[in-house]
Amino acid sequence: MIIKKLTILNKLGLHARAAAKLVSTANEFESTIIIKKDGKNADARSIMKLLMLSASQGSSISVEVNGADQSDAMKSIEKLFNNKFDEQK
């Protein structure tokens, strides 16, 4: 299992479109992917659970990836976060 702390950089935070992107990224892998924030857990494959984390810009989250393709999955997720979910600015 890999655990990593990441910061939400995009302006709107983990809102619906960003969450949808995270879901589709997570769906590319077999590993289980859990996003944690303030004691709340969300399956990265559930957009509703991700929204309920209410993660705004600047909030820090931790990502737990566990499975055969865990390192590839973590790389993709990190990239997504660092690219601000492909949004401008």
């Binding site: 479109r17 949808a20 559930s46 957009i47 929204l51």
Partner: protein
Amino acid sequence: MSIIITGDGVSRGVCIGQAIVVYKDNIDHAPSFISKSQVNSESKKCLDVINKLKTEYKKSSTKIKNNPAITKLMDMQLSFVDDKSFRENVLNKINNHQFSASWAISSEYHSMKKSFEDIEDKYIKERLIDIKQMIISLLELLQSRKKLDIFYNKTIENKIIITDEITPKDIVDIHHSKGLGVITSHGSRSSHSAILSKSLALPMLVKVESSINIIKNGDKLIMDPENQIIIVNPDEIELRHFKRIQSENNSLMRSFKKITNKKAITKDRIKVDVMCNLELSEEVKLLNDSSDGVGLFRTEYLYMNRDDTPTEHEQYQAYSKVFKKVNGKPVTLRTLDIGSDKEVSENMKVGQIAKNPALGMRGIRYSLYEKNLFKIQIKAMLRAAKNGKLRILIPMITTLDEINKAKDLIDEAKTELIKEKKSFNPRYEVGIMIEVPASAIQSNVLSKNVDFMSIGTNDLVQYILAIDRVDDEVTSLYDPTNPAVLQLIKQVIGTCNRSRIDITVCGEMAGEKMYTKLLLGLGLTSFSMHPQAIPEIKKIIMETDTKALKTKINTILRCNDYHKRLEIIQSL
């Protein structure tokens, strides 16, 4: 320990029973379970509709490919339907708790809604609207019909329903499903739902703001609308006390029955007509020989909760039922008036939906626009009255011109009936509702052109005071004893008495015991009210000497202090 909460009592009757909490929100569903053997087919049904909706979203997403903004939105919707945890939770409720598919989906929505309520981010919070949309679509697919009949449901039999808001249709459904009583967190005592609950003798309390938070499914409740209280999980002493009141009420009702059969004559020998208001033709069952006829039959319920309009034959049957029951006494049938709080099919709405339906296309205005609908209704009335005494009552009259146009249409309807060789009663009366202030002020002119008038106090008060009686924030300002209101009512009664045409009050005021002597003092000799109120009002009339009221009535008409005015009214 028991908890006591309060609200506004509507219809009377102590009732004791179990609570069933039904959240509205368009997504409500009364709890419903399935048997173990149905679990597999139910979860398959559920997965089927989820997949169906997914396909629908995909289809519309490809249709609008060249608009990236909408495509993105559709993709988001798609990821909501596709949501893993949503699907897992719903299936878990079906498989392990034997929830029906629709209850599983709606209860999952309600738990999601709770989580979303805590979210501060406004943008994320708003996504709940998208989720809600999806849930509604799923439920519609599941039911393969549009409206969810949450109250037309066996699970509410013998239960007290706790909900936020209630429509007239809901009340009818609850009545049919044999619910015991209704408690709502919003609403108003003078809404049509409240009127309906009174005439159906369904105990109801409104504006019980804390109800949704305090009362849980399955709680034992005592509700006493007359004393404005609800006791949640009562103890033995409270139960015993209210059971005694319940049985006392029953014997009181029996004693009222004796009064009902007497004529209402005041101490100074004035005969007062006490008629009843009906909403549904089924209500004629509540009628007995005691009333002096039907003072108001609201026909709009024939038009509600359906996609088409009722045919001449269907209306003929409904009206005939009423005529048959009253044995030659007058029957006042009011032509269609879709008031602002009534739900009708989209087909019946004219043009754009009115910004303020109370001031919009309703009553005679609508009838003169949809002339054929009006004529069909008139034809059904004239035919049903073949051996009866028909009084046609036209709502929302503002001008003399409208009266003349309505009469022309009635004549056209007669000509058509003659052509069609259908038998009907050529003798009938035509009267108007006095609810628009303009017609009250002009009653002198209008009275020369009609056979009778009927004051609809609810709307008249609403229009005089500019108070929306369903609006929680101003409903407390709704005051039928405002001197402006009383003076206008007095003026209309006086005009009609001088012109020797019948004048009736058919609004809520007529059936409320605190106003009976006031109205008698203003010169009224004809009341029309919901059947339940008749015995009590008759009793007050028989105890009144109208001559003795004069001085106090004059003081009331001049009194601008609300509390003093009420005090004098109560001392009458």
